[in-house]
C-alpha cells in the first residue's frame, strides 16, 4: 500500500480546514500519516489525530519551526521521505513554498494543485487559470503533490490516531523571520466560507467598499473577497484577493459585485455552486458564468439587497 506523508497546515494553535480536505485526496491514494511541524503546537497534533482514516500523526516541535519557514520544513520532510512513497500538502502558502524544495531535493517532478485523483498515480490539475485541465501520470517512484483544497470535501473527525513525537536537529541559517501583519482571526475565513461576497474596482474607495459590503456579508454570514483591482487600489487587503494569483474559493453562494470577470478572477471562483453577478454592464464577462445576473448600479442594489435579506 502506498504510504503518504501529509504536511499539516496550521498556525501553531489551530489545524486549518485545508488539511482535512487534503486528507480526503490523500486517502484516495494510500495510507496517510500527518506531519505537524511547528512550535508549541500540541493542540494541532491532537486535532490531527482525530481525523478519520489517518494512521499516525508525527509531531516535530521546535523553535526553528515556529514560523514554518520553507527551508527547515522542507529539510525535515526530506529527512522523513525515505519511509514514504508520496509527500503531500494542501496548496497553501506554506505548502507551495516548501514542497517544490522537497521535490528538487528528492529529484522528482512535483504535481501542483491536483483537483482529482484518477488512480494512485494519475491526477487531474488545472492549467491556464483553469481554462484547461490536464490529466497527468506521475511516472516516478516517489511523488510530491499539492492539493487544491476546494476540490475535496473535508475528512470527518472521528478517528483516534497515535501521536509520535520526533526529535530533529534541523537548523536554518538562511532565512530569519522579521514580522507579520496577519488578518484578524474573528472573520469568517474566505476559503472555507459557505458564502463569499466579493467587490471589485467599481466600489471606488475603501470606505464605500467597507460600508456597503460589511453589512451584506454580516447578514449572509459570509466572508468578503475582492478582485485584484480592488486590492491594488487599497480597498481590501491582499489576502482577500480571489483568482489565479489569489485564493481559490468554491462556496455555495458567490456574489460578485462590480467585478468584470476577467479570466484571472474566474479562475478563483468559477467552481462556486451558485454565482450571482451584480454589474451595471449587461456585457460584463462575469454575467456569462453567473446563475443570476442583476444589471444595476451597485450603490443602489447593495443597500437594497442588504435591507431585504
Amino acid at each position: 500500500m502506498t504510504k503518504i506523508l501529509l504536511l499539516a497546515e496550521h498556525d501553531n494553535n489551530t489545524l486549518n480546514e485545508a488539511t482535512l480536505r487534503a486528507v480526503t485526496a490523500a486517502k484516495q491514494i494510500g495510507d496517510v500519516n500527518i506531519l505537524v511541524v511547528g512550535h508549541a503546537c500540541d493542540a494541532v497534533a491532537q486535532t490531527a489525530s482525530k481525523i478519520s482514516g489517518v494512521e499516525k500523526v508525527l509531531l516535530a516541535d521546535g523553535v526553528v519551526f515556529v514560523h514554518q519557514l520553507a527551508e527547515p520544513v522542507a529539510a525535515l520532510l526530506v529527512e522523513l521521505a525515505p519511509a514514504y512513497d508520496v509527500i503531500m500538502s494542501a496548496a497553501t502558502s506554506i505548502g507551495k513554498s516548501a514542497l517544490p524544495r522537497v521535490a528538487a531535493l528528492l529529484d522528482v517532478a512535483q504535481i501542483s494543485e491536483i483537483i482529482e485523483v484518477v488512480s494512485p498515480d494519475t491526477f487531474v490539475r488545472p492549467i491556464y487559470a483553469g481554462n484547461a485541465l490536464q490529466k497527468v501520470r506521475a511516472s516516478e517512484g516517489k511523488k510530491v503533490i499539492t492539493v487544491r483544497p476546494t476540490s475535496f470535501e473535508p475528512a470527518p473527525s472521528e478517528g483516534d490516531a497515535p501521536i509520535e513525537t520526533l526529535s530533529t536537529n534541523t537548523t536554518n541559517e538562511k532565512t530569519t523571520f522579521v514580522s507579520a501583519a496577519l488578518s484578524d482571526g474573528d472573520r469568517v475565513e474566505l476559503v472555507s466560507a459557505k458564502t463569499v461576497i466579493s467587490g471589485g474596482r467599481a466600489f471606488g474607495s475603501k470606505e464605500q467598499f467597507d460600508q456597503l459590503l460589511e453589512p451584506l456579508a454580516q447578514k449572509l454570514n459570509g466572508a468578503i473577497g475582492a478582485s485584484r483591482a480592488a486590492v491594488d487600489a487599497g480597498y481590501a487587503p491582499n489576502e482577500w484577493q480571489v483568482g489565479q494569483t489569489g485564493k481559490v474559493v468554491a462556496p455555495d453562494l458567490y456574489v460578485a459585485i462590480g467585478i468584470s470577470g476577467a479570466i484571472q478572477h474566474l479562475a478563483g471562483m468559477k467552481d462556486s455552486k451558485t454565482i450571482v453577478a451584480i454589474n451595471s454592464d449587461p456585457d460584463a464577462p462575469i454575467n456569462q458564468i453567473a446563475d443570476y445576473v442583476l444589471i444595476a448600479d451597485l450603490f443602489e442594489a447593495v443597500p437594497e439587497l442588504t435591507d431585504k435579506l
Partner: protein, 249 residues
C-alpha cells in the same frame, strides 16, 4: 553584484486559450505570445535595484524554443544588459528548468536571482523554490516588497493570512508577486538599442542536463462549462430566486 532574472514565454494573458480537440494540449499556433506577466515584474525589480546603484548588471535567461528570443529582446528593451537563450524543443518541467538555471547560476555567479512566482501557462509555482533547493540558497516567495541590504535581502511575502516579512541571506532566490511594482514599457529607442545587446544561444546539452519530462500528460481537456444563468429584473426577484430556486439563503 549581478542579478539573474529567468523569464518564460507564454500565451499572452489576454488571449482566450483553445484546447486542441484531440486532447493533445493547448493550441499554440498563431497565438499571441508574451513574457509571463510575473517575469516583467521580476525584471522591473532588478532594474530598480540597478538604478539605485545596488546592482551592476541584470542578466535575463529563458529556456525555450528559438522564438523565445522575442521575449528576451523585450527584456533587453526594458533595460536588461544581457540575455541567454537555452534552446530546447517542447515542454520542460519546472524541475528541468531549475536544473538548467542552476548551471547558469554556476557560470554567471549572480548574487541574487529574481523569478516570477508562477508561470501563467502551467500555473506550477515551483521553479524558484526548486532552484533555491538545488543551490542550497535561502528563498523568499510571493514578494510584494523587497529591499536589498548588505549581505541580505528583506522581503515581504504575501501569505494566506496576510503579510510576512523575512530576511534572506545572500545569495538568495526571490519569487515576485503582482503588487511588487508596475513594470515599465519599452520605449521605441530602447527597442532599437536592444537589438544590439548581447544574446547568447546555448543548449541544455552544453550543460550536460537532461530536461526530458518525468511525468506523462495523458490528456488535456476543457473543464465542464457552466450552464447559462438568468437575468433577474430587480433585487426582489434576486432574493426570491436565491431563497426558493437556489436555496442558498
Amino acid at each position: 553584484m549581478k542579478v539573474l532574472v529567468p523569464i518564460k514565454r507564454v500565451i499572452d494573458y489576454n488571449v482566450k486559450i483553445r484546447v486542441k480537440p484531440d486532447g493533445s494540449g493547448v493550441d499554440l499556433d498563431n497565438v499571441k505570445m508574451s513574457m509571463n506577466p510575473f517575469d516583467e515584474i521580476a525584471i522591473e525589480a532588478a532594474l530598480q535595484l540597478k538604478e539605485a546603484g545596488k546592482v551592476d548588471e541584470v542578466v535575463i535567461a529563458t529556456i525555450g524554443v528559438e522564438k523565445s528570443q522575442d521575449v528576451l529582446r523585450t527584456g533587453l528593451a526594458m533595460g536588461a544588459d544581457r540575455a541567454i537563450l537555452v534552446q530546447v524543443e517542447g515542454e520542460v518541467e519546472p524541475l528541468g528548468i531549475a536544473k538548467v538555471l542552476a548551471k547558469i547560476v554556476g557560470d554567471e555567479e549572480p548574487g541574487f536571482v529574481i523569478l516570477g512566482k508562477q508561470a501563467i501557462d502551467d500555473d506550477a509555482s515551483q521553479t524558484g523554490q526548486m532552484l533555491s533547493a538545488l543551490l542550497g540558497w535561502g528563498q523568499a516567495t510571493f514578494a510584494s516588497a523587497l529591499q536589498l541590504e548588505e549581505g541580505y535581502v528583506r522581503v515581504t511575502q504575501e501569505v494566506d493570512a496576510g503579510l510576512q516579512t523575512i530576511d534572506v541571506a545572500l545569495p538568495a532566490i526571490v519569487t515576485v508577486d503582482l503588487r511588487l511594482n508596475t513594470p515599465r514599457y519599452a520605449t521605441l529607442p530602447n527597442v532599437m538599442k536592444a537589438k544590439r545587446k548581447p544574446l547568447e544561444v546555448i543548449t541544455p546539452a552544453d550543460f550536460g542536463v537532461d530536461t526530458s519530462p518525468r511525468n506523462t500528460v495523458l490528456e488535456t481537456y476543457e473543464p465542464p462549462a457552466r450552464a447559462g444563468g438568468i437575468t433577474v429584473q430587480n433585487v426582489d426577484e434576486l432574493v426570491e430566486k436565491l431563497k426558493n430556486q437556489a436555496g442558498v439563503i
